[in-house]
Subunit: 238 residues, 2 copies
């Protein structure tokens, strides 16, 4: 089944399996259809479905076991922020609410921005927003995000309270995150952070700085995160 539309076939297989896992149709511990069965279902051959399964495996959705099959893996609970999927996807059963502290605004890059910028990025300026996320009603995650303002028309109008930032970028602007780097510290809460998280100043807080590459050249996403790990923790799978 050659691909007819623009999206590759293996990606279609990947997306459909992923959504079936996300929606709970395939539950943890279940065996996915075997590679040969998937071949028949999608009228394609093993290397193609294997590419989809490899991607799922890399994201931790499945574990592949020689001689047995592809086993749907542990659901991602905790705050799976270290994964690529945008926080909302990683929170599992916990109730997650997002409050926009600063609506998306266009602004030039700060003189002392922590990451190196390409000339094109500097020229284009940044879109800045900040959000506070509540898990089970508790303020847990403060996030400042800078996005290179390249080819993102009317971006500042989006409603990011309901929708994940990553989903918005993907669905409306064809921007997909591909890879990234992150740095992690434990720091003392400043007065402002302590107020926001409703904790005492100087209490330990998790601090992360992330730089995410996308499929668009020169379009990067920078995010500075502060996480209150009194009641929750950050988790990831690799």
């Amino acid at each position: 089944m050659q691909r007819s539309s623009g999206t590759p076939l293996y990606k279609k297989v990947f997306e459909e399996l992923k959504s079936k896992i996300d929606s709970g149709l395939y539950k943890m511990g279940d065996l996915l259809p075997s590679e040969n069965e998937l071949c028949k279902m999608y009228f394609t051959t093993r290397p193609t479905v294997r590419q989809a399964l490899n991607d799922l495996s890399n994201l931790g959705y499945i574990v592949r076991q020689h001689g047995k099959g592809s086993i749907v893996s542990e659901p991602k609970n905790g705050l799976g922020i270290l994964s690529l999927k945008g926080s909302t996807a990683g929170v599992g059963k916990h109730n997650l609410k997002t409050a926009i502290i600063t609506k998306p605004i266009k602004q030039p890059w700060s003189e002392a921005f922590e990451f190196e910028l390409t000339p094109e990025e500097k020229e284009a300026g940044a879109i800045y927003l900040s959000r506070l996320r509540y898990v089970d009603g508790l303020p847990t995650l403060f996030e400042e995000t800078y996005i290179s303002n390249i080819d993102l028309p009317r971006f500042t109008l989006h409603n990011l309270e309901k929708n994940s930032l990553f989903d918005t970028l993907k669905n409306y602007h064809d921007v997909e995150v591909k890879e990234g780097e992150q740095k992690i510290w434990a720091i003392e809460a400043s007065k402002e952070l302590a107020d926001m998280f409703n904790i005492k100043p100087k209490k330990p807080v998790l601090h992360m700085k992330r730089r995410l590459k996308t499929n668009k050249k020169n379009l990067f996403i920078y995010s500075f995160l502060y996480c209150n790990t009194q009641d929750f923790f950050i988790q990831d799978y690799f």
Copy 2:
């Protein structure tokens, strides 16, 4: 070139390219030989070399660019503990010294061990060791490790000060880490930790709990890490 020995050909290609990057023969920004060139070098075909290149790409060693080639990626500095490679490999230029606090000893699992154990693991008991790592002479990382004591003869005799734990497991016991999960908190330093790190009690410290799966069934590695992020930080790529 069918594989002659036990190791798959794509893995050989992977290992050789990886070591050439690690040793600095291919430097950051360099272009690796093209897929077709690698095919000729190893007398094989593109799917095979692509498998090796994909693995390198997943580990962040290279970035593949459509129409251009495979570009050697940023060297991993910081304390790349979040990657799979064992701390020693991730520290880059920093001088890293390891002090064994507790030599490897066999012991039963604690009653209240934080992770779920398989019956086989419980039966086998654990090997415990703890180490304190110095970066540039500063005590930075305290690590408690539990390994399921399965098929690891004379393991307690190894000298782990010079060699990475992961290298030892791989070279002497054919144990390779395949995947894992980790949880991260910011906590206050206990008195013991503060003494070890030479900081004041209650200062923020990074705490991680990791569970690593290996290629051997029932053999897991559990490690509990405490990291002083006053002077350094944890970094990873994905």
